[in-house]
């Protein structure tokens, strides 16, 4: 009987490109295109061999789609297709049970290799340089006062202003900042701001602690 592969991506051209790659891996399979998470879910009701899922679509944002789909279709291999290049997103997807992670910057060969792995019930993830996870861990190790200060630094405030706003001395602000730099492994506030911005952007869905 015919295999059925579902491609969920809201970019028409990219869907087309993915179709071609899929057609080479799953020879003769029926390829179904969906432009939203809702549409993909509807198609899944008709059964499917595998799902290629974009993380950023109109009606869905981030890894929550993956979580939901994994819960409703635990046996379905899901390959994530995303523009993200962040190792911690790779790791998050893997942890949520995705079968593969294909960055959109991947070449044709990488993509076909990943799809072939999925077809064979295997897994495929990009190289996982875990340094970013270290960064996250370091960021999480900040004390409340340090977090407050870093937040102010991220707004471009001067130490003097931060001291006034938080009603502490400038010396204290500086001391905290030095400690922050140590923990984050940076040597000046620009790098700290850059690192904080990088880790905060495109947050998968870390609503767990931020209540």
């Amino acid at each position: 009987m015919g295999q059925r592969i579902i491609i969920a991506d809201d970019h028409p051209l990219f869907r087309t490109a993915l179709s071609h790659a899929v057609a080479r891996v799953w020879d003769g399979a029926e390829i179904v295109e969906a432009s939203s998470a809702a549409a993909a879910r509807a198609e899944l009701a008709g059964g499917a061999e595998a799902l290629l899922l974009d993380l950023h679509m109109e009606d869905s944002s981030g890894l929550s789609v993956l979580m939901d789909l994994r819960q409703d279709f635990p046996a379905l291999p899901i390959a994530i297709v995303s523009a993200s290049e962040e190792p911690r997103v790779f790791a998050a997807a893997r942890q949520l049970g995705a079968a593969a992670f294909i960055p959109k910057s991947a070449g044709l060969d990488d993509m076909r290799a990943a799809l072939a792995a999925v077809r064979d019930g295997d897994h495929a993830f990009p190289e996982g340089d875990d340094s970013d996870d270290d960064d996250l861990a370091r960021m999480a190790s900040l004390t409340p006062a340090q977090r407050r200060i870093l937040g102010a630094v991220r707004q471009g405030l001067l130490n003097k202003q931060i001291a006034y706003e938080q009603d502490i001395s400038e010396a204290t602000v500086k001391a905290h900042i030095t400690a922050i730099f140590r923990k984050l492994g940076v040597s000046n506030r620009t790098q700290a701001v850059l690192l904080a911005a990088k880790l905060d952007v495109d947050q998968p869905s870390a609503d767990s602690a931020t209540a």
Copy 2:
């Protein structure tokens, strides 16, 4: 003589899809593919009829590429191809002198229409408000040297390091930085970095659906 169209996008599959669209609009044109801003720039040295430019590539982030290319090739029509759907980004691209803006979610028809407009020396932008961004204008007013320096500042480097890397004196670096602050309307490097990051990145807009 043969026309020459350059496609700069770091995603191989998407490049292929774009090639097909271009081939229909510029009949018989030579299509050159580049996978980085540097490669595109190298190809541009050989002359070109038009450039299709992706905003996020390996060696470049955001609108600064467009700014740089506009400065170096003022007469070249540049069509931006981006995953962004933000009207703010459309407007920014228009203001920076792009000939067209093609969201990756656009269908084949929209894309061909936009490319045809570019071919005819016309413009093509998606629906959006025309609120011109003062910050963008200020950013675009930076001179090449200032842009180089700002780029280094954005990496968290010290003035001393910047001076060494660019083989100029620290005094010069400081002079440029003071000028940059004036133009951008900020008062220290952290704010400059923050502003540059805000304007340069078209984020995935993860806040749209979630609340």
